[in-house]
């Protein structure tokens, strides 16, 4: 994050942040910890495949990459409530909190100066047809091995394929 102005005293250029972790205003002493923000990440599983949001915009430098659906947890919201909301907003499906299983949490270098902690939920049951909406423009079902594909944008989801392989195995049996 870039603080051109102090959010407390409004002075220009007074906020110093040597390492992106702690920010301090040299004028009024305002202090801010640039802690990671919570996000909910959704894993839909069907016929041994996972649902990804795909970038099919040929004009976009990230054309061809894919990600798991999800988004930021809002103020006052639990990660589960965010997961339910994002499932509705991005995929138009209805999910109950009781059908979410939290399986992992990973840090994600979301953008320069902003880290997110992605809470990964398996969606065990949903109602409605999955239709891309809002931030998601297109979707594709892919095998679990797609998590190791260089085009998968998340690079820190260490071990997620193993955790999911166990779960899909359970779903099949």
């Amino acid at each position: 994050m870039n603080f051109n102005f102090c959010p407390k005293c409004g002075t220009k250029g007074s906020v110093q942040h040597p390492n992106n972790t702690a920010y301090v205003c040299t004028k009024c002493g305002w202090q801010f910890w640039n802690n990671a923000k919570a996000c909910a990440t959704l894993v839909f599983i069907q016929h041994d495949q996972l649902l990804f949001s795909t970038n099919e915009d040929k004009a976009d430098p990230n054309f061809g990459t894919f990600d798991l659906p999800g988004g930021f947890v809002d103020y006052g919201e639990s990660a589960q409530q965010a997961a339910v909301r994002e499932a509705k907003e991005e995929l138009t499906v209805t999910v109950q909190e009781a059908d979410l299983e939290l399986i992992a949490a990973y840090h994600n270098n979301y953008m320069e100066g902003v880290t997110t902690i992605d809470l990964v939920f398996i969606v065990k049951k949903w109602v409605g047809d999955i239709i891309p909406s809002d931030d998601v423009t297109s979707i594709e079902w892919k095998s679990i091995s797609a998590l190791d594909d260089p085009q998968f944008v998340q690079k820190n989801y260490t071990g997620l394929n193993k955790i999911l392989a166990k779960h899909t195995g359970e779903q099949l049996s």
């Binding site: 102005f5 990671a36 919570a38 103020y75 006052g76 639990s78 990660a79 840090h107």
Partner: protein, 166 residues
């Protein structure tokens, strides 16, 4: 809310929703919850609780843990915070995720706490840093008024692990 002025142009911010603050030029500050970790240590049917040395909720109890810093993985946060507050060495590969709970923090800030159960660690707890004292207490204390965070359903989830752990 500590963010009063736009960090990009210095104009005053107004709240559109509790999550979104805009200035009149249309710059947005997102007030989404920060992430933190809490770690459960179980020994002889007791859980390790930490009495808070600092505000907020000074004097009340929580679990060892703290905020996830910039570029830090939650498992690394757990190792670092346990080391800082208890002096113990935690094996992050032994952590099992138990839940995530959002609580209010200071003012208009909220925090999403990720709770891990530790299976492997070494050392004896000695309180330091944000911890005034460390005490082994029964599981029921998770639902006590002196336990600051609200982790609904966590004590039941731990009970369901069975007598091997509790």
């Amino acid at each position: 809310m500590k963010i009063l002025n736009c960090i990009e142009c210095g104009l005053p911010l107004t709240s559109i929703t509790p999550s979104q603050y805009n200035c009149s030029r249309g710059h947005t500050y997102w007030n989404s919850p920060s992430s933190a970790v809490s770690v459960i240590f179980i020994k002889d049917n007791f859980i390790l609780f930490s009495q808070r040395a600092n505000e907020p909720a000074r004097g009340l109890y929580n679990l060892p843990g703290g905020f996830c810093e910039h570029m830090e993985d939650p498992l690394d946060t757990a190792e670092r915070e346990v080391q800082e507050e208890t002096g113990m060495n935690l094996d992050k590969r032994s952590l099992v995720i138990m839940g995530a709970y959002t609580n209010k923090y200071i003012g208009d800030e909220s925090v999403c706490d990720i709770v891990f159960l530790a299976h492997s660690w070494s050392g004896t707890p000695i309180a330091d840093d944000d911890s005034a004292s460390l005490e082994w207490k029964p599981l029921e204390f998770l639902d006590d008024a002196y336990f600051a965070p609200n982790f609904p359903g966590l004590s039941d989830k731990l009970r369901s692990l069975g007598e091997s752990k509790l």
